[in-house]
């Protein structure tokens, strides 16, 4: 609780984020910036990612009653939208949208948390510290994607009847009642990989570590990696799709499919979606 510490952090907070060069290997602000590219054209909506997330991140199964009341804790959910001008039948299929925490650079949730339980890490993640959280739920109010999930019930006492608790991942906490939680890009995996890499005096290699959803996805629709490293696949994809992390309005060719959701609100998300393609002549 030193004043210097506060002031240092404060000045970092007060900067406009993301600033140019923040995630640049040459500038050395940060060695990592985790980002995703999600191809909606090959996402089949199969929910493998959701289940993998339940397995990896100790998500409670809430049951029918509570699901009905909106207490589902799926950190990643598959949304299904029909086209707005649909005729008698949805003749061009439907649209699936996997939605998880977008790890915004200028995250609306971070500024409003009274205790700083959610804040930005150096590698561009929007961290959520369960033990600091007092449950004011302001972050959820301010999240435009509504991907923050509050523990309205004491799930540890109900969601894992013995011996189901043996399945729990010891690398992360089981959240008790009264705290907010959300997708972390499987930070426990990232931390492990980063620590291993540092021990070997190198950076984390591309593809060395991926979140559970990316690892499970049967169609490889999600690409994950360190966007600071220009040779990583995800950085190449962002560049190829002409999506710039630092811009709130992209100037790109109409044939390119990259976009970020609700960019106009300027949260600068770390997840690039790639547009669904439909053969209009079919």
């Amino acid at each position: 609780m030193s004043i210097t510490n506060l002031l240092n952090n404060w000045s970092f907070y007060r900067q406009k984020r993301p600033f140019r060069g923040q995630y640049d290997l040459n500038k050395q602000y940060s060695e990592y910036k985790w980002a995703m590219a999600l191809d909606l054209d090959i996402c089949t909506g199969c929910n493998a990612c959701t289940t993998a997330c339940y397995a990896e991140n100790n998500l409670p199964v809430v049951g029918k009653e509570r699901y009905q009341h909106g207490y589902a804790m799926h950190w990643i959910r598959i949304e299904r939208y029909w086209d707005e001008n649909m005729g008698e039948f949805p003749e061009s299929g439907t649209s699936f949208l996997p939605m998880m925490c977008q790890q915004c650079e200028e995250a609306p949730c971070e500024t409003v948390c009274p205790v700083g339980a959610t804040n930005h890490t150096n590698d561009g993640l929007n961290s959520q510290n369960y033990h600091r959280c007092i449950g004011s739920r302001y972050c959820s109010v301010n999240c435009p994607y509504k991907v923050r999930y509050f523990n309205f019930w004491n799930y540890p006492s109900t969601a894992w009847p013995s011996p189901l608790q043996d399945q729990l991942n010891p690398d992360l906490t089981v959240r008790t009642k009264g705290v907010m939680e959300k997708c972390t890009f499987c930070v426990q995996r990232l931390n492990e990989a980063k620590s291993r890499a540092r021990t070997e005096y190198r950076l984390v290699k591309d593809g060395e570590v991926v979140p559970a959803c990316v690892q499970a996805c049967p169609t490889n629709a999600i690409t994950f990696g360190n966007i600071v490293d220009p040779k990583s696949k995800v950085a190449k994809m962002w560049k190829n799709q002409q999506v710039d992390l630092y811009k709130d309005e992209q100037e790109k060719d109409s044939s390119m499919r990259g976009y970020r959701i609700l960019e106009d609100l300027r949260p600068f998300p770390s997840v690039m979606y790639m547009e669904r393609v439909r053969d209009m002549e079919a």
Partner: protein, 202 residues
Amino acid sequence: MIHRLLAAMFFVFAFSGMANAEPFKWGGPIGSQTSDGYNALGPVVQQPIEFPHYRHARDMGINCMYCHTGARRGYVSVIPRIDKCIGCHQSIESVRNKPRIKKLFWYWDHKEPIPWKKVNDLPDYVRFNHERHIQRFYFRQNRPVREVCGYCHGDVANMTVDRRVKALSMGWCISCHEKDHRENDVSMKTSHGPYECWQCHK
């Protein structure tokens, strides 16, 4: 008079933050405070075998990591597996009949783990990474092992059964992470430890 009192109160509050002080916490008999201001001496813990750290680490000069093998490669430092103990002790006939060694062999013969008590027990939601600290300070910066481990664990080499001597509180962790540490033994470049919540909180 009242002005002075108020001023004193103001300074106490204002500088208690700056001076990185931790509120007084009862942690042992009076006089057992550690020199850095943390009254943090833990209770004496009864172990199934009264393991003489001084014999191994001081008298024999065994490196801590000879037994605590996880410290350089994992999150936990690892209580040594029993075959590690047996590996040496089956050839040390001189102490073979000491009661503690007999107890050790009893566990070995029954293939049962020894129920050691946890001494340096952090809250369940904290992930302390031994590997990074050992790699950074022991291997990279080349500091003596007893100093590196001792910063958190105290002078275990002069203890019999281990006893907690530091507060192990979050502020105490940060007090060290805040300092600039030399990056290795030759370079004068320094860096501090990470501050991010997710480094330690899981």
